[in-house]
């Protein structure tokens, strides 16, 4: 078993350390004590209450597990379902991996630092669980692996640590849905995620958040992509949330490695989002793209993006577009840094409102003003994401379709 004493000591020192961005959260307002839940077999999953199933559905989680290569389900602090049903794919609860497998040491806290801030520290000091998903060398996942992190206990701080490994030459698709029960008032979700994309491997990771209005969310993600690897990272959040701050970092450490980030945010009234990402291109031939679409209909959205070119012959582009529908604020903060010659880096940021002539054009085709507006919004949000399997594309489209009702 992995002795985490040194890590704990480090975490202890950082347990009051504020994050470098985002409003500070008083962790004393939340509880971390384990909340027991019974393990659920396949049949039990399908027998969950209708409302819960619908909620999970909205985050891309399919309880029938049809067209899914594996399923992980954590409720509050407890893993209630964990199953892989595809050769070459492993899905293991984090606590179990730490207990049983020596190899986890090579990955656990190797990209993210335990002492980054109070949230990473908490994730170590009071770790609940999380998942390890590994695609074995050369394996190709036909169906995406789904993971769900669900919160039900009011006032809980859920601490999760995930590790995703795409071994050499493998292809892995994942969808993670995070949601909270409608009964839940306040809560905090802390999620540490470390992504390892090895040589010539391909990982697509789609995360859909569907939290409640009083929820605080602090994901902490770091990824490393080796030679010829591809990391496709999609983030979708269309539901109101009190405060969400995340700033995932990806290092492209191998030649010809590629990272693409897509985010779709809808900022509802009372919601505060501070999201962004940094991609460091360390080897020649690597490429990076950050594409953000944000809508505010009364919420506050900060969109950061930082591309850093450390090697010649790299290409990086950042595109950030925002739409104000009904008050609120949008802040686009794009940044480019080049440390060598021969880089090709660009950014494009635009914030505005829906064009009248587009609305009128659609009205002249028989749509009401509201229908026209929502059609334009849906179009704005639907970015073409190359390399995404059709099931996941469908999940994203559905989330957008669903968000319509909230935006209008």
């Amino acid at each position: 078993m992995y002795d985490r004493k040194r890590l704990k000591e480090k975490a202890e020192k950082a347990k009051d350390k504020h994050a470098s961005i985002g409003p500070d959260i008083d962790l004393k307002e939340y509880t971390v004590a384990p909340v027991p839940h019974a393990y659920m077999a396949d049949e039990d999953l399908c027998k969950m209450p209708e409302t819960e199933q619908h909620l999970l559905n909205m985050t891309g989680i399919d309880v029938t597990k049809k067209d899914r290569g594996g399923t992980f389900f954590q409720k509050d602090t407890q893993v209630i379902h964990c199953h892989a049903r595809q050769d070459g794919i492993e899905v293991i609860p984090m606590t179990q991996a730490l207990e049983k497998y020596d190899w986890i040491e090579e990955y656990y806290w190797k990209l993210a630092s335990v002492d980054s801030d109070k949230y990473t520290a908490a994730a170590e000091l009071d770790l609940h669980d999380g998942y390890v998903v590994r695609a074995l060398p050369g394996s190709k996942s036909v169906y995406p692996v789904q993971a769900c992190l669900y919160l039900e206990k009011d006032g809980l701080q859920q601490n999760v640590h995930n590790i995703i490994i795409a071994e050499e030459g493998s292809e892995l698709h994942m969808i993670t849905g995070c949601a909270s029960s409608p009964q839940m008032k306040t809560g905090l979700h802390v999620g540490v995620s470390e992504f390892f994309i090895k040589k010539n491997a391909k990982l697509s990771f789609t995360m859909i958040h569907n939290f409640g209005e009083e929820m605080v969310v602090r994901p902490r993600s770091v990824a490393r992509v080796e030679e010829g690897g591809l990391f496709l990272n999609n983030y979708i959040c269309m539901k109101p949330v009190k405060s969400l701050q995340t700033y995932p970092v990806t290092d492209l450490v191998g030649r010809d490695s590629v990272a693409r980030f897509y985010s779709i945010i809808v900022g509802s009234p009372g919601s505060n989002y501070d999201i962004g990402g940094k991609i460091v291109l360390k080897e020649s031939g690597s490429r990076a793209e950050i594409i953000a679409r944000s809508i505010s209909n009364g919420g506050n959205v900060i969109n950061r993006g930082h591309l850093i070119g450390d090697a010649p012959d790299i290409k990086a582009h950042l595109e950030c577009r925002g739409l104000l529908i009904n008050g609120g604020t949008l802040d686009a903060i794009p940044q480019l840094t080049a440390h060598v010659e021969g880089v090709e880096m660009s950014h494009e940021a635009a914030v505005g409102k829906i064009a009248q002539d587009e609305i009128q054009y659609l009205m002249s085709r028989g749509l009401s003003r509201d229908e026209a507006t929502s059609t334009i919004v849906r179009g704005f949000l639907s970015v073409d994401i190359p390399g995404l399997p059709p099931q996941l594309k469908a999940e994203i489209d559905r989330a957008i379709e669903e968000s319509d009702k909230d935006v209008m």
């Binding site: 064009a355 002539d357 587009e358 009128q360 054009y361 659609l362 009205m363 002249s364 085709r365 028989g366 749509l367 009401s368 003003r369 026209a372 059609t375 334009i376 849906r378 179009g379 704005f380 949000l381 639907s382 970015v383």
Partner: protein, 254 residues
């Protein structure tokens, strides 16, 4: 039937249409001529109901209803549709979806697009990077799906290549139930007799007349309309003497 009486329209604090009288009876198609900047597009936009084209006086009646201040979408629902000269791009909205919306889900997008040689564009964002001629076909396709009773065409043939010209011309003729087009089980004559569709076509060149005959020609000049029976006649007259002289000649003959 469309009836416009003494319409005065202002755009950006400038009166562009001074005094417009126009009557398009059921089944009729009119051609609309006029120099660049004379306000032809503006007239169509005013009929469609764009509020920027502010009606200062007069009225527009359609199917017996006063639509002078009716919102755009209600006019569309009443049966007015337009093929635009410069439509906006809507990012992320596929042409296929647009056709679906126009046809209220009741049309076969694929089949309709095939008719106008536009199948390859269904998965592109509507109007995004479309060439001049492609825009014409896209607009026509939308109007086909919408199938309104009064169709306003803003220069449907300009920029269309020779090969597509016949396609565009014949399609418009079919949409307006004209020029040999006849519904299944009905004779050409019967179709003509029962014809409901009305059209107003802006054209500079008159190429469209090779495929679609117009019942009347209208010339917009100095904010007013003058009309004659034979649109080809107007074309010749404009070619020979210019718009101003042609209009003077027409009004004297009246």
């Amino acid at each position: 039937m469309l009836v416009i009486e003494d319409l005065q329209v202002e755009l950006a604090n400038k009166i562009i249409l001074k005094h417009i009288d126009l009557e398009i009876k059921q089944g009729e198609t009119h051609a609309l001529f006029g120099p660049n900047g004379s306000g032809k597009t503006s007239l169509l936009m005013a009929i469609m109901g764009y509020p920027q084209y502010k009606v200062l006086s007069g009225k527009i009646m359609f199917k017996g209803e006063d639509i002078t201040y009716m919102p755009i979408n209600e006019r569309a629902q009443l049966g007015i549709g337009m093929s635009y000269q410069r439509p906006p791009t809507i990012n992320g909205l596929k042409t296929r979806q647009m056709i679906h919306l126009c046809g209220k889900g009741k049309v076969d997008e694929e089949k309709l697009a095939g008719r106008i040689n536009f199948s390859n564009f269904l998965d592109r964002d509507i109007n995004a990077g479309f060439s001049g001629g492609e825009i014409k076909r896209s607009e026509l396709l939308q109007l086909m799906a919408q199938d309104p009773d009064l169709m306003l065409f803003d220069e449907p043939e300009s920029g269309v290549d020779m090969e597509n010209m016949a396609l565009v011309g014949k399609t418009i003729a079919a949409m307006l139930q004209r020029n040999g087009f006849h519904e299944e089980g009905k004779s050409i004559l019967q179709t003509k007799h029962e014809r409901k569709k009305m059209g107003l076509i802006i054209t500079h060149t008159g190429y469209i007349f090779d495929y679609v005959t117009a019942d009347k020609g209208q010339v917009l000049f100095d904010g007013m309309l003058s009309s004659v029976e034979n649109p080809r006649e107007i074309l010749r007259c404009i070619g020979q003497t210019g718009y101003e002289e042609c209009v003077r000649c027409m009004t004297e003959n009246d």
